[in-house]
Every structure is written in structure tokens, then in C-alpha cells.
């Protein structure tokens, strides 16, 4: 039952100086953050200047790298082996601070103050779901523009759907192209191009819409929103240009997407969506990282035969301690073999639909990873293209 897929070779990928960005995506709870951190560490210890951008609010990367806190600035990770000339930085996205920085960088001080003090802005930037995706793209763009690292490893937000990460910039674009934003701004900014656009809707339409908005939102909130949008207007253009640029960066040859999954039905279904979506967006998929795969060196003994042997031992007239212990171990083995079969079945469904996606399997570890040694071990597994085949 050896899989027909070609193996995903991660070392050539992270060693290639042309690889500038690696994006780890996948559904929640599949070890995305750990994979990103392990790859970043491995690349750094193999000589590259790496920054790992994580977005997960659980601060798991921080823990696994032995840091108590990551702020919005990349910090050097202590304890890594720099003999190959590489270095490792890590940061965790602070959404609000990223948003504030954009405002401060693109608006004059008075206008920046007005935006930062606006109640609507404060709620929006503090992390209504969705802001995270914009800010992740923004931060990725910033890191790439700084040119201080030669490899950026990105962990994507724990979205309601992993695909939100790709959609955010376009959503922003369509919003900014929309008439709604112009309408919202009309009362705060009479005349000009926006005013004429509004006029073209007809006065009846305008009063209907703003009247409705006032009724629904309440006039105070509507005023806050209008002030916010007016204040943001100058920077929105640049924001969008950068979001578009980042999107193009993701399509560029120096970018590689890794879809991360566990051998479970839901995680692999999400992974399949992602593979299809990346193809549709012409974004370069490097392959699938299948985490938490169970393996056994005794796979030639199947579950049923193991259970039968266990029963034989347990039913012996004078079963010794060794017999009982052996029976217990055989039952553990039987459970492992059942799990292996389940995982293989789940994986086969994915393989049947996506036979050409390269795969690397990372065996399940009995314990969670929370130090550099653990990350190194994961990195070793990620680079093994032949050692992790449970059905060899």
C-alpha cells in the first residue's frame, strides 16, 4: 500500500536561495504553527537568515521557542546553532499595533490622532474577526519589503476557513472599489469626485440610503463610521496597493505554499479545498505536510492476529506476569494497527483526488513539542522522505 505520490523534499525547498517565502496553511489544530517554527529553525541552522511570522493568538510558537512573549517586532531566537551562518528571528502578529502603525505611517499626525481615537476604529483594529487576515498580509508585505531576511516562514491565521487568508486582500479591494464607501463619506466630504458619484445615484436614492443607515446604525454610530472612513480615505489607497502587491508576491516563483493537515477526515477535506484553491489562484503549492501520522515497526502483525495472540496468552491456565504484559502490549499494538488503517484510508481518499501533490509525513509524537530540541526533531522528520512510510 505504498503511496503513489512523490515525496515532498523540504530540505531542497528551504535551502534554495530562490525560496523567499514559505506559507503554511491548513485548518486549525493540525500543527501548522509547529510546522512553521520547525521549518524556520531548520532553515536557519542550515545557514539561512530566517524570520518566522506567526499569527496564532495562543502564542504557541512563543512557547515552543522558549520565548515568554513575542511582540510585533521580529526578535532573535536564542539557543540556535549559528555555525552554518544562519540566524532565526520570530515574531507574533499584534493586529492592533500593525493597524496603528499603518495609520501612523500614512496619515499626518493630526489625522492619525483622529483615526486612532475613533471608537469605530478602536473596535475594528482590536480584532474583530477578519482584521487579522488583512494585517497578516500587511505584515508579510512589510517583512518582505525590509529585505533583512532571505526566508520568511508564515503561519496563517486560525480562520473560520483557512481560505480567508487568500480572500482578505480581494475583499478589501472590492470594498474600496465599491460605491458604499463613497456614500458613507459623502456627508463628511461634500463635493469632489465622491460627491458627484453620489449625485449620480439621485438625491432620492441618497436620502433613502443614508436615512436607512442612520435608522439602522443609530446616528452617533453612523457619524463615527463616517469620520473613520473619511479619515482612513487617504491611506486606504496605499493600503490596497500594498495588499495587491502582497497578493502578487504570493503568486511569485519565490513563494511556496505548504498545506498542513493531519490524517483525519475534516483536516484532509480542508487541505483538499486549499490545494484546489491554490491552483485556481495560480499560487505555487510545494506539497502537503501530513502531521501526526501513526507508524509501527511491527506492521507485519495485523490487528486481528495481535488480538488473537493476546487472547491466547490471557486464557492460558497459568498465565505468568510476562504473559499478561505481552497480552497488554499486543492489545496496544492492535489499537495502533487499527489507527494506522484508519489513517491510511483517510489519506487514500485525498490521494485519489490529488495524486500529484507531493507529501511528507511526520510521525505522531507521544508528547507535545515545546522546546527547540522538539522543533529540531520535527525538522528532522520533515526532511526525511523515506523514513516515515508506515506501510513500507
Amino acid at each position: 500500500m505504498r503511496s503513489p505520490q512523490e515525496p515532498l523534499e523540504t530540505d531542497p525547498l528551504i535551502d534554495d536561495p530562490d525560496t523567499r517565502i514559505v506559507v503554511c496553511c491548513g485548518s486549525g489544530g493540525v500543527g501548522k504553527t509547529t510546522t512553521a517554527a520547525a521549518l524556520g529553525l531548520r532553515a536557519a541552522e542550515r545557514g539561512r537568515r530566517v524570520v518566522v511570522l506567526t499569527i496564532d493568538p495562543a502564542r504557541r510558537l512563543a512557547q515552543s521557542m522558549g520565548l515568554t512573549e513575542l511582540d510585533n517586532v521580529p526578535r532573535p531566537v536564542p539557543g540556535i546553532d549559528t555555525t552554518a551562518g544562519g540566524e532565526l528571528f520570530a515574531m507574533m502578529l499584534d493586529m492592533k499595533r500593525t493597524f496603528d502603525e499603518i495609520v501612523e505611517a500614512h496619515a499626518d499626525p493630526a489625522r492619525a490622532r483622529a483615526i486612532l481615537d475613533n471608537p469605530f476604529y478602536q473596535s475594528l483594529s482590536a480584532g474583530f474577526a477578519g482584521t487579522q487576515e488583512y494585517m497578516a498580509m500587511e505584515k508579510l508585505g512589510q517583512l518582505a519589503a525590509r529585505d533583512a531576511w532571505d526566508l520568511i516562514v508564515v503561519d496563517t491565521p486560525p480562520s473560520r476557513s483557512a481560505l480567508d487568508f487568500l480572500d482578505a486582500p480581494q475583499r478589501l479591494g472590492s470594498f474600496l472599489d465599491g460605491r458604499f464607501i463613497r456614500l458613507l463619506m459623502a456627508p463628511a466630504k461634500a463635493g469632489g469626485r465622491a460627491g458627484r458619484k453620489v449625485m449620480s445615484l439621485g438625491m432620492a436614492g441618497l436620502s433613502l440610503v443614508t436615512g436607512t443607515l442612520g435608522k439602522v446604525l443609530g446616528t452617533a454610530l453612523l457619524r463615527d463610521v463616517q469620520t473613520f472612513v473619511a479619515a482612513m480615505d487617504t491611506m486606504f489607497g496605499g493600503f490596497r496597493t500594498r495588499a495587491d502587491a502582497t497578493y502578487r508576491l504570493l503568486q511569485a516563483p519565490g513563494t511556496a505554499f505548504l498545506v498542513v493537515a493531519a490524517p483525519e477526515r475534516d483536516a484532509l477535506r480542508e487541505a483538499a479545498y486549499f490545494v484546489e484553491r491554490l491552483a485556481a489562484e495560480r499560487m505555487p503549492l510545494a506539497g502537503l505536510v501530513l502531521n501526526r501520522v501513526h507508524t509501527s515497526d511491527g506492521a507485519h502483525l495485523g490487528a486481528e492476529r495481535a488480538l488473537a495472540a493476546a487472547e491466547t496468552l490471557e486464557s492460558r491456565e497459568s498465565a505468568s506476569d510476562a504473559d499478561r504484559a505481552a497480552a497488554g502490549l499486543l492489545r496496544v499494538h492492535a489499537e495502533r494497527m487499527r489507527q494506522l488503517t484508519r489513517e491510511e484510508r483517510t489519506r487514500a481518499r485525498f490521494t485519489a483526488v490529488h495524486p500529484r501533490v507531493p507529501v511528507v509525513e511526520v510521525p505522531a509524537l507521544p508528547e507535545d513539542v515545546h522546546d527547540l530540541a522538539g522543533l529540531r526533531a520535527i525538522g528532522d522528520r520533515l526532511s526525511q522522505t523515506d523514513g516515515a512510510q508506515p506501510f513500507g
Binding site: F128, F175, F180, L217, A310, T312, A326, V332
Partner: protein
């Protein structure tokens, strides 16, 4: 409200809970808000439209309805219900206001989703009784659930007067009442348990009622191994030979290493159980179903939930 870290099976637990609550003569509503059609997949039906429809009869004999909430439709419903907008609603959609509200300003999306659920909770049937005896929501993951549920507190602060203010306050009253319980699904692993503990603290700080924890996918503990020290390789090989296995020598090393991993896992699980116990909440458990959760498995989980104290 059923939440949990990604990968813990919260949708499965929400569905099993909705089935479990459907006693004879009662109705439960199972609500999905993340647009993933997870309910349809679990119940092996076609994708759910934005419409409450009966999808199952629970093991207790009651009916289970399901609803996959679509934020855009919910917004138009709301506008229609509260403001009788008619043509203005269509105008809002045409200029992109609906898009704005449901995607670019996702906080409003959360307002709509929680609002729709509260509407179902408070709805009366034709006979004057409650339309649903229980409403179960497959809520966003633990990391976001407090903000999701508390979004109306924020909205009530932003819109200081007017219909939105009142609506937001009404939704928060329902969510903070004794009739609401937020259950958190976890696995016996470090990160999900840590996230559960963080989630409980956040929910409590936001004054939201925490129900309990549901430990999902509990694997059977094989006591004989846990209780017995691992045998010496020679003794193990001899026992395997007595069991009629011919390749005993080749099996000892793999079996011993798997045994060690098993013992490590049991010890880790015991630590995580202690962590959960420290939260001082009811703990319910559901086993790992060896063949995955199909419809029969879902009913089995529902029966197991019914058999536990609530």
C-alpha cells in the same frame, strides 16, 4: 453553545448534543455559523440552505432541526424584520453595504449570527409555547468564542442609543442568562486543554455562563500495560512464542517501544485530566469511535451524552 479548539470535534459534539436533547415531543435546533456545511456532512444530507429544516429524530424521539446561518441573508432578514425596509434593503445590497456589513466589518457578522440564534431561542410556536425547547450552536473556536459571544456588549457601547443598541442589549441578556451554557470541547492533550483553561477564564471575565467541558475522542486505556511494568525483551519474546507468533524476536522491540509510548501517553492524559479538574466544571467524556463518526456513530455519541449527568 459548543466551542472548542480546532480539531477537537466541536461540530460533532454540537450535533450529538442536539440529538441528545431531542426528547420525545420536543424540538431542538442545531445552528451552524461558520459556513462549512459541517452539519450536512455529519448527517449525510445535501448542503443545508438558509432555512430551518428537520434533519433527524433524536434517540429520545424528539425532532432535530438544523440551520446553516448565512450572514448576508440574516442581515436582510433583520432589516426586513425590524425596519420593514423593502426596496431600501435591495438598494443597500446594490451599493455594497451588505457586503461591507457581512465581510469587511466582520464584527457586524458576529452580531447577526448571535442575533439570529437569540431570535430562535425567543421564538414562540403557533401554540404559544417555545418554538424550540433547546437551541445548540456550533460556535466559533475557543480562541474567538468570547469575542464572538460578547460582540453585542461592544456594539451596545458603540451604538449608544437607538434600535441597534436595544437589540444588542437584548441579545446579551439571553447569552448571559442562566438558560445559556457554553460548553468547551477538548482532547486530553496539552494545547487543547491549555486553550480550554484560557477560554474558561475569558468567558468568566466576560460574564458568560460556562457550562462544562467535553473531553472528546478518549482512547481506551489498556490497564494491563499501565499496571504491569514492561517485560524484559527475552521474557516478552518467550511469551509471544507461547502465543503462537513465529516472528517473536522481530516483534519485541516494536512492541516495547509502542508500550513505552502508550505509558507516556497515559501519564500525559492523567496530567491533562488533573488540569481540567482544576477548572471546577462538570467534565463529560466521549470515546474515540474507531471507524470515525458516521451517522450511526453520531447517534452512539448522543446516547452516551444522554447517559451522563447534565
Amino acid at each position: 453553545m459548543v466551542s472548542g479548539k480546532g480539531g477537537t470535534g466541536k461540530t460533532t459534539v454540537a450535533a450529538a448534543l442536539a440529538l441528545a436533547l431531542a426528547e420525545e415531543g420536543r424540538r431542538t435546533l442545531l445552528v451552524e455559523v461558520e459556513g462549512r456545511q459541517g452539519i450536512a456532512q455529519l448527517f449525510e444530507t445535501e448542503a443545508l440552505p438558509y432555512e430551518e429544516r428537520r434533519i433527524a429524530i433524536g434517540p429520545g424521539g424528539g425532532e432535530v432541526f438544523a440551520l446553516a446561518i448565512d450572514a448576508e441573508r440574516a442581515l436582510l432578514d433583520y432589516l426586513q424584520m425590524f425596519y420593514k425596509l423593502g426596496g431600501a434593503g435591495r438598494a443597500l445590497r446594490r451599493i455594497g453595504a451588505i457586503d461591507f456589513a457581512t465581510t469587511v466589518a466582520p464584527g457586524l457578522r458576529d452580531v447577526l449570527l448571535t442575533g439570529k440564534v437569540c431570535e430562535a431561542v425567543r421564538r414562540r410556536g403557533p401554540d404559544g409555547g417555545w418554538a424550540y425547547d433547546a437551541v445548540v450552536m456550533d460556535a466559533p473556536p475557543t480562541g474567538r468564542v468570547t469575542r464572538f459571544l460578547a460582540v453585542n456588549d461592544e456594539v451596545a457601547g458603540l451604538a449608544r442609543v437607538g434600535p441597534i443598541h436595544h437589540q444588542a442589549q437584548a441579545v446579551m441578556r439571553v447569552l448571559k442568562s442562566a438558560e445559556t451554557a457554553v460548553h468547551l470541547v477538548t482532547l486530553l492533550e496539552e494545547m487543547p486543554v491549555q486553550e480550554t483553561a484560557d477560554g474558561v477564564a475569558e468567558l468568566r471575565a466576560a460574564d458568560l455562563p460556562v457550562g462544562g467541558t467535553v473531553v472528546n475522542m478518549v482512547r481506551p486505556a489498556l490497564d494491563s500495560t499501565a499496571a504491569t511494568p514492561l517485560p524484559a525483551p527475552n521474557d516478552l519474546a518467550a511469551a509471544l512464542t507461547r502465543a503462537g507468533l513465529r516472528d517473536a524476536e522481530a516483534l519485541t522491540a516494536p512492541l516495547l517501544s509502542q508500550g513505552r509510548e502508550h505509558v507516556t501517553r497515559l501519564a500525559l492524559e492523567a496530567t491533562q485530566r488533573d488540569e481540567l479538574a482544576r477548572l471546577d466544571l462538570p467534565v463529560r467524556e466521549l470515546p474515540l469511535l474507531p471507524d470515525g463518526v458516521d451517522l450511526a456513530g453520531l447517534y452512539r455519541l448522543a446516547r452516551l451524552l444522554r447517559a451522563q449527568d447534565w
